[in-house]
């Protein structure tokens, strides 16, 4: 029996080849990189024997010799990106292609001048002190091979710092575009967002794949919300059918801060999202929303961790999935309530709509409660479209297919409705509509 080759070594070799390049950067970062690559070497790629990966095989990643892209491929034009309804968003944006900053597609007009929104590589080169203070301090790689890999190779991404008390009206958009060239390519986007105390800002992180080819993205975003800060963050996947994306979003919340996160999956081959939110100050609140629409043989895996580390914090989690074809989904929602986190108020819900007989969802809540005065509820549903509702609509003249589409759209709309920035909501509805229309066309074919 031939074992499937594991290309872990490719990364170790590549790291060695880049030692000189990394040595040219700050020494504190060099140390972190080395610790990270060593940890990746020790851990290796996870297999389905690991509890946290038991429903998700990373073979599409580990069995391919991805080359970390050190040179930029041919840059895409604005026209080639126009198909993505998110590209039209009119807000300040930083665009990265295969991990490299693209000034031609980026623009930053309209931001208050106190706000720093730049590429991480530039801020690192400039020795910005906030970076040394915060970068890689929150997203741990002790037990996460992909976070270790990203930390070892981190090249570029967004660095955004919102000073104390600043309110930013328009969202800052970080767009990561992958173009599949001849070689299977890997990219390691890394983003650091610092929202100062009492600041208010919105961030959108999009991952778009051009073409049908495969690529691998290991993306890590760290968000620090200061005391009383109000942050809204959306992550959108509109990736190629053969794309693999393993992402970590790490949120650290200060006292009385309010953070809302949204995660939307509209395309990709294999996507694994780890969202870790630490409520590290009294009275902090977090709202986690997610919507995934899968079809064909797509696989989406959401692992969320809500860590109630301090008292009087509240969290609300709503993830909804619409699964079709032979696609599969995983939802693992872990809520940790620490011993001193009295008066914790946590609600978690995962709802799934299965549109085909072969679609599969694995959903599991995981509650670890160590305090005694708390309110924690969780619930999960898995079902098909409500036949009673379909008949009701048909009895009023609405056709069967139309009724089905209406109900499916309505199911997904609840999550989209929670996005505060109206232009983004509109684009999300467009993407949802396109996705459902594609299904209808497949049915007619």
């Amino acid at each position: 029996m031939t074992a499937v080759k594991d290309y872990q070594d490719t990364y170790l070799t590549e790291f060695q080849a880049r030692e000189k390049e990394f040595a040219a950067g700050p020494s504190w970062l060099g140390e972190i990189r080395r610790a990270a690559i060593n940890r990746f070497a020790e851990l290796g790629f996870p297999t389905t024997r690991h509890e946290d990966w038991k429903h998700t095989s990373v073979a599409p990643i580990s069995s391919v010799a991805f080359q970390p892209v050190s040179r930029e491929h041919a840059a895409p034009t604005a026209e080639s990106l126009a198909w993505s309804c998110f590209f039209e968003l009119e807000c300040p944006r930083l665009v990265f292609v295969n991990g490299h900053y693209n000034p031609g597609l980026s623009f930053l007009a309209g931001l208050p001048k106190e706000v720093t929104a730049t590429r991480l590589s530039k801020a690192l080169a400039a020795g910005t002190p906030a970076i040394e203070q915060h970068l890689a301090r929150y997203a741990a790689f002790e037990n996460q091979a992909f976070t270790a890999l990203n930390t070892a190779f981190l090249q570029d991404g967004g660095f955004i710092e919102i000073p104390k008390g600043t309110v930013v009206e328009k969202p800052v958009f970080l767009l990561f575009v992958s173009t599949a060239g001849g070689q299977p390519a890997a990219a390691f986007p890394r983003t650091l967002i610092l929202a100062g105390r009492e600041s208010q800002a919105t961030f959108i992180e999009g991952h778009i794949g051009l073409g049908e080819g495969g690529y691998f993205s290991s993306a890590v975003t760290e968000i620090v919300a200061g005391e009383n800060a109000i942050v809204e963050y959306s992550k959108i996947h509109q990736e190629s059918p053969a794309a693999s994306h393993v992402g970590t979003v790490q949120v650290q919340q200060g006292r009385s801060s309010a953070v809302t996160t949204h995660n939307f999956f509209f395309g990709g081959g294999l996507v694994r999202e780890d969202l870790n939110v630490v409520l590290d100050g009294e009275g902090a609140s977090a709202q986690l929303n997610g919507l995934y629409l899968t079809s064909g043989r797509q696989h989406i895996d959401h692992h969320t961790v809500l860590d109630h580390a301090k008292p009087h914090c509240s969290s609300r989690e709503l993830y909804k999935g619409i699964l079709d074809g032979e696609s599969s989904g995983v939802f693992n929602g872990r809520v940790i309530v620490r011993q001193d986190a009295q008066k914790t108020d946590s609600k978690q819900s995962n709802k799934n709509l299965l549109l085909s007989e072969d679609a599969v969802i694995n959903t599991k809540p995981q509650l670890e409660i160590s305090a005694d005065d708390v309110k924690c509820t969780h619930g999960a549903t898995i079902g098909q479209v409500d036949q009673e509702a379909i008949f009701y609509l048909r009895s009023r003249g609405i056709g069967k297919e139309e009724a089905r589409k209406l109900l499916t759209f309505a199911f997904a709309s609840e999550v989209i409705g929670r996005v505060r920035y109206a232009p983004l909501r509109d684009r999300l509805r467009d993407a949802l509509f396109q996705s459902l229309a594609r299904r209808a066309r497949r049915e007619d074919a």
């Binding site: 409500d386 009673e388 509702a389 008949f391 009701y392 609509l393 048909r394 009895s395 009023r396 003249g397 609405i398 056709g399 069967k400 139309e402 209406l406 109900l407 759209f409 309505a410 199911f411 709309s413 609840e414």
Partner: protein, 254 residues
């Protein structure tokens, strides 16, 4: 308008309708009464096209068309409306959007122009007044969080907007207090007309004080056992269903 001949139907292996004959002409209001389990709701739902019931024999002719061969949406577009006994909640779909879609589909079928948003709003306001309904309900998802009475009123409100040819009311009065009942009756009566027919399925006679029927039929164990004028309803109310069963048994003995 409607001719039901020898209709027999099952749900699963259980036979519910055992040969129904019913003829409803334009302008007529027919009441269908009967004890629980007699098949009244089943008849109403089969006319609307509910697929969970299996028709095993008989025909239903609606204005010259074979109704049983039509899909539920085609029946609605042809002018049939069922006011449900237990209206379902549809989260995420607003009353406004739903009703306007339904109205436009039906209008298109009649060769009429679609209604634009402003005209629709005006129409809706007028009908809501008729049924003493709160305008805010229009923006809520269909029936979500509605009380039992509000759901029943929403059914009659939809009927008022869609203006069907044949309106079937399935126990619309069940669970309503006297005030809600009067409002609902008012809405239904406003729709009576020479071109329209109604079938009112009810367990209690009280509704028929307000919506006075032309004909009353009593269903028992899947068959219409007695038909008469509006006095029949009063007699039933007075004497109870048991009396009717005795009467029917007596007639058969003769």
């Amino acid at each position: 308008m409607l001719k039901v001949k020898n209709l027999r139907a099952n749900v699963g292996n259980q036979e519910i309708l055992r040969g129904i004959d019913l003829e409803v002409k334009k302008g007529e209001v027919h009441a269908i009464m009967g004890p629980n389990g007699s098949g009244k709701s089943t008849l109403a739902q089969i006319l609307a096209g509910r697929e969970v019931y299996e028709v095993t024999a008989g025909t239903v002719d609606f204005e010259g068309r074979d109704l049983l061969a039509m899909s539920p949406e085609d029946r609605a577009r042809a002018g049939i409306f069922l006011a449900f006994q237990y209206p379902v909640e549809i989260p995420g779909v607003s009353n406004m959007y739903f009703l306007r879609s339904a109205l436009n589909t039906i209008r298109k079928n009649r060769g009429q122009e679609e209604v634009d948003a402003m005209d629709f709003l005006a129409l809706v306001r007028k009908k809501m007044k008729l049924l003493d309904m709160d305008e805010a309900l229009m923006n809520r998802p269909v029936n979500e969080g509605f009380s039992g009475g509000e759901k029943k009123r929403n059914e009659v409100f939809q009927m008022a907007v869609l203006e069907p040819k044949l309106a079937i009311l399935d126990e619309t009065d069940s669970g309503l207090d006297i005030d809600a009942l009067k409002v609902v009756a008012q809405g239904v009566n406003a729709l009576r007309g020479p071109e329209r027919a109604m079938i009112i399925v009810t367990h209690y006679q009280r509704l028929l004080n307000y919506i006075v029927p032309d004909f009353v039929h009593v269903l028992s164990s899947g068959r219409i056992v007695k038909s008469g004028g509006k006095e029949l309803a009063l007699e039933l109310e007075h004497k109870g269903y048991a009396w009717l069963e005795d009467e029917v048994a007596a007639e058969h003995a003769l």
